[in-house]
Structures are given as C-alpha cells and as structure tokens.
C-alpha cells in the first residue's frame, strides 16, 4: 500500500478509536488516552501531507543543485507544524492529568460518572 495512504488511514483509525474511547469509556485515564489518540491521529494526518514518494530530507547540502533539491525534497512545513502541535498536546495532557490527580485525591475515584457526575 502507498505509504501516504496507509498513514492517512492509520490517522483516521486513531481518531475514530480515540473518539470511541473518550465517549464510551468511563475511566478518566482511559478517556485521556483516547484524547491522546485523537491528537496523534491529527498529527499523523498533518505529517502525511508532507510526504513525497522517493523524496529526500529537506536539508540543503553544499553541492546540491537548487532545481534538483526543490523537486526532490519533502515538504518541510507540516513537520514544523507537527512539532508545535505535539508540544501543545503534551501541555494540555499534563494539565488534564494534573486535574485528574486532584479530583482523585478529593473523591477517591477515577470513574467519570462519579467524578464528573454524568
């Protein structure tokens, strides 16, 4: 299978699994893992946009012809964007886990139904 198509399908699968986990699992940690799946799926989708079949790493080395480099290098923008997105995802996750720790200390449970009252 084409690498790009495979990555896109994996991304969709990750997002679907993540949404399922977030919506239907009661354990808060499992919900958070589901959210991580959604974020990872979006990141994989974004990075797959920069894939170029047979492309080279987008680092311009001495001796390379500019025309050849422009035609063969992968698209660098998605890689830079994903890096930022991963950092944001990690920060959000840290805050959510911090809140869950506080709620667990207060209520002694990780059940969303008990802690969040749903």
């Amino acid at each position: 299978m084409d690498v790009q198509l495979g990555s896109l399908l994996t991304a969709v699968a990750l997002i679907v699994i993540g949404i399922f986990a977030t919506a239907f699992l009661d354990n808060l940690i499992k919900k958070i893992i589901g959210l991580a799946f959604i974020g990872d799926g979006a990141n994989l989708f974004l990075i797959a946009m920069g894939y170029k079949p047979g492309g080279i790493v987008y680092i311009y080395l001495p001796g390379m012809a500019a025309d050849w480099f422009a035609q063969n290098a992968a698209y660098p923008l998605p890689f830079a964007l994903v890096l930022t997105s991963i950092v944001i995802g990690a920060s959000t996750m840290a805050v959510m886990l911090g809140i869950i720790i506080v709620l667990y200390k207060k209520k002694g449970s990780l059940s969303a139904a008990k802690v969040l009252g749903e």
């Binding site: 808060l28 974020g39 709620l103």
Partner: protein, 494 residues
C-alpha cells in the same frame, strides 16, 4: 502587543506569594494593554523579517528563477500579522477589559495571586495573536493557549466544582482542537499553504479547484473548532458553566476571549469559504440557534453568573447574524455588536461580582434586598442591563438597530423580528434577576458583609459604562474603524 503581555505574565509568575509587589506590578503592567494598540502603526509584521519575495529584492536576487519568477514570489514564507483599524479597535477593547479585570482582581482578592494575573495576561496575549494573525496554524496554536489560560483562570479561581468543570471543558476541547487541526491539515494538503491570504489566492486564481470536496470537509472541521472556541451550541452549556466557576474578573475576561475567538474564526471562515453559499447559511443557522437557546436558557437560571453566561451566548448569535448576512453593513453591525458585547458582559460580570463579594452567594433564590445597601452599584448594573437589552442611547441599541436594518436590507426581515423579540426577552430576563437580587426584601438568612466595596470595582464598572455611553452616542466614530474590514469581507462574499 503579543510579546508584552507574555513577558508581563512570565514576570508576574516569578512574583508568586509577594502580595504587595504583585498588586503594584500588575496595575503598572496592565496599563500597557490598552495603550499598546493606540501607539502601534498600521501594517504587516513578518516574523523573522521574511516578507514575500516580491517585496524583498535583496533575497530574490540570490534565488533561482523558478522560485522568484512564479507565484511563489507572492506567497508569505513567514508568519504574518496584520494590524489595521479594526484590529486596533479589537485589541484596544481587549486591553481595556483586561486592564479593568486585572485592576478589579487585585483589589477584590485579599491575597492577589501572581498565577491568576499570569493566566489573564497569557489569555490576553493569545487572544491578541488570534486577532492579528494571518496564519491559520498560528491561530490554532494561540487558540489552544487561550483554552489553557481559560482553564487556568477557572482552576485558580478556587470556586466549588471548578476542577470538574475545567476537566469537562478540557475533554471537549481535546476533541474539538485536533479536529480543527485536521481541518487545517486538509487545507494545507489541498492548497499547500497555511497563510490565509495565500490560501485565498490559490482558490481564487484556480491553482486549486474550489469545488474540491476535501475543502468542504475542512470547512466543516474548522466550523466545529469555531463552535467550541466561542461556546456556540452544542458547547453553550459547558461555556456558561466555565463562566460560573471563575471569579467575576476572570469571567469577564473569558467571555471576551469567547467573543474575540468567535469573530476571529468567523472572519477566517468568511474569508476562505465565502464562495461556498453553505458557509453563510451555517453561520446564520448556528447564530440563530445560539441566540434562541442562549437567551431562553438564561430565563430559567438561578445562578447569576450562569445567567449572564447564557445571555452572552445569546448575544454571540447577534454578532453571527451580522457576519452571516455577508453585506458590508451587516458585517460592520456584527463587529460593532461584538465590541459592545465584550464591554457590557464584562460590566455585568464585574457588577454582579459585587453581590458575590458582599454575600458569597450567587444563587438568586437566596438573594435580595441589596438595593439599599449599594444603590450606586445597583444603578450602574441596571444601566449595564439596559445596554445589553439594547435600550437607547446605549451602545448595543445602536449595533442592534444596525443589525435589524442590515437584515431587512439583505432580505431577511424575519431575522429582524426575531432579534427584536429576543431583545425584549433579554430585558425581561435581566429585570427578573435585578428584581430578585436588589429589589425584593432581603431573606432573613442572608448575611451581608459590612466592609465597603473596593473602589477599583466601582471605577471599573463606571469606566465600562462611560465607554458604552460614548459608543452609543457616537456610533459612526466606532464603525469607521470597522468598515474597511467589513467592506473587504463583503467583497469576498460577493
């Protein structure tokens, strides 16, 4: 305008537990917030100094002709910020509300928190960036920072149930934000760009097929992020819950974040997807739903902050109607309504915050008789409520009148009728809450603190009310700042 609030936030965070220093430094730093947009020059800012190659002959001369000779030379290689008259007004209003919220918070709290001020400054920085940026991924980054700042404000506010509400908000946000990112990824995949001007250029010049179904999906995902960020249905209940779990100054700021996210993302949707007639209908439909649901749900609320939160959601609907009409006059009216709503809702949150300060109660069933304790503040809050309902000569009267005229001009007189009816319902809802809190006899078990209200709170309410009156008396002065943006947006829609 973005860097200064971030630096202020970082500096204040270092002053943790140094109460006096925090109070003084916060006020001094907050004064810069409304001043900066007044001092800045209009124009574009390119991060790293990389403007489009067309404008940079020095750099162009060293590059091969296949880059400089084609369309690539017009594209924006760096993150671009655009500062024009409309952005100046928005950032000024954001800064003013930020200043007054910070001013109120340091005097209302016995031990001012550096972390709380940090969150407010970070939120203001993020929101300023969202208003200025021309880069949709940059917008997403600051969208996330604003969401984190919102959660931070709620957590630091230390109100019962704040952790639960914050977690629910974050869980929903962690679904909505990646979907927004997915929408951006689809746009990047189709157009190869994240700069909004370049995306529009690609669509208008036929480099990309505008009827590509992937673009429709991208539009849907970005609209989903827009609904979450601004608290439109189906996120209106969690958003109003967030308002009710923050200190009054925090609620005033969070609602400002919601309104500015609403207009910033709304403008992006209009700019990129205006060629899809569906996008306008979606904006109109969602706004109408927000208006009806927000205002009708406000009627049954017993928590004051929650009631104002729902009214704020309803007022967002008015802004959306203006944007959705797609005419220059309609968009101007919508943006004017946004500016007015930010100030009025901040006024009401801070004004009703006085009730909370004196009684520690926000449940209207347990309140009453506060009129004779603070007739001055009650009068100011009453005028704020009149402003929200659109009573002349206050500012929202002018913007709502413009919106009704715009809807009639655009061939939707029924929208005008709905807006008038909902304004009446807003007035009734507000008057019911006002009567319950201020006019009816004081319940026997209600304890009212004897200490006087901080002068900072009264000053903040007066300043906001004065600005509301000025905007109401001189609407043309305000709309002159908004018209260039509205005209360019309407040109894109047409």
């Amino acid at each position: 305008m973005v860097i200064v609030p971030i630096l202020c936030a970082l500096f204040l965070n270092l002053l943790h537990k140094k109460d006096r220093a925090i109070k003084a430094v916060t006020i001094i730093l907050a004064l810069a917030l409304p001043a900066l947009p007044l001092l800045a020059n209009y124009g574009f800012h390119y991060f790293g100094g990389y403007e489009p190659l067309l404008q940079n002959p020095t750099l162009s001369s060293n590059l091969p002709s296949f880059i400089t000779g084609g369309v690539l030379s017009t594209f924006h290689p760096a993150i671009t910020y655009s500062f024009q008259s409309a952005q100046q007004l928005f950032v000024f209003i954001l800064g003013l509300v930020g200043l007054l919220a910070l001013f109120t918070s340091v005097y209302e709290t016995r031990r001012p928190s550096g972390v709380y001020a940090y969150m407010l400054f970070m939120g203001i920085a993020a929101m300023t960036a969202i208003l200025l940026t021309d880069d949709i991924f940059n917008l997403y980054v600051f969208f996330e920072i604003a969401a984190l700042a919102t959660v931070g404000i709620v957590l630091v506010s230390n109100i019962k149930g704040n952790y639960e509400t914050a977690l629910k908000y974050m869980i929903l946000g962690s679904v909505a934000a990646p979907l927004l990112l997915l929408g951006i990824a689809l746009l990047l995949g189709v157009t190869g760009n994240v700069n909004i001007t370049d995306i529009i250029y690609s669509l208008k010049t036929g480099m990309v097929d505008p009827q590509n179904p992937v673009l429709l999906m991208a539009c849907g995902l970005i609209v989903f992020g827009w609904l979450y960020g601004s608290g439109l249905p189906p996120f209106h209940t969690i958003k109003s819950a967030i308002y009710s779990k923050a200190l009054p100054s925090g609620s005033a700021m969070i609602q400002a974040f919601s309104v500015f996210t609403f207009i910033a993302l709304g403008i992006v949707i209009l700019r990129i997807f205006s060629y899809l007639p569906l996008s306008q209908w979606v904006i109109l439909g969602v706004s109408l739903l927000a208006m009806i649901l927000g205002i009708t749900m406000a009627i049954v609320q017993t928590d004051i902050k929650r009631m104002i939160g729902f009214l704020a959601v309803g007022e967002l609907g008015y802004i959306g109607i203006g944007l959705g009409l797609g005419t220059a006059f309609g968009i101007t009216a919508g943006l004017f309504q946004a500016v007015n709503e930010v100030m009025i809702t901040a006024l009401l949150f801070i004004g009703f915050g006085v009730v909370l300060y004196q009684t520690g109660v926000s449940d209207t069933r347990k309140l009453g008789g506060l009129m004779f304790r603070n007739p001055g503040v009650a009068l100011l809050v009453l005028l704020g409520g009149f402003a929200m309902a659109g009573v002349p000569p206050l500012n929202a009267f002018q913007s709502k009148l413009m919106l009704i005229q715009a809807s009639i001009d655009a061939g939707f007189p029924e929208l005008g009728v709905i807006m008038i009816l909902l304004s009446i319902v807003t007035f009734m809802t507000f008057m019911k809450a006002f009567h319950t809190v201020y006019l009816r006899p004081k319940p026997a078990d209600l304890e009212i603190k004897t200490e006087t209200i901080p002068k900072a709170t009264v000053i903040s309410i007066v300043v906001l009310l004065v600005v509301c009156i000025i905007f109401g008396l001189f609407p043309h002065y305000v709309t002159s700042y908004l018209q260039p943006l509205a005209t360019s947006l309407a040109g894109g829609v047409a």
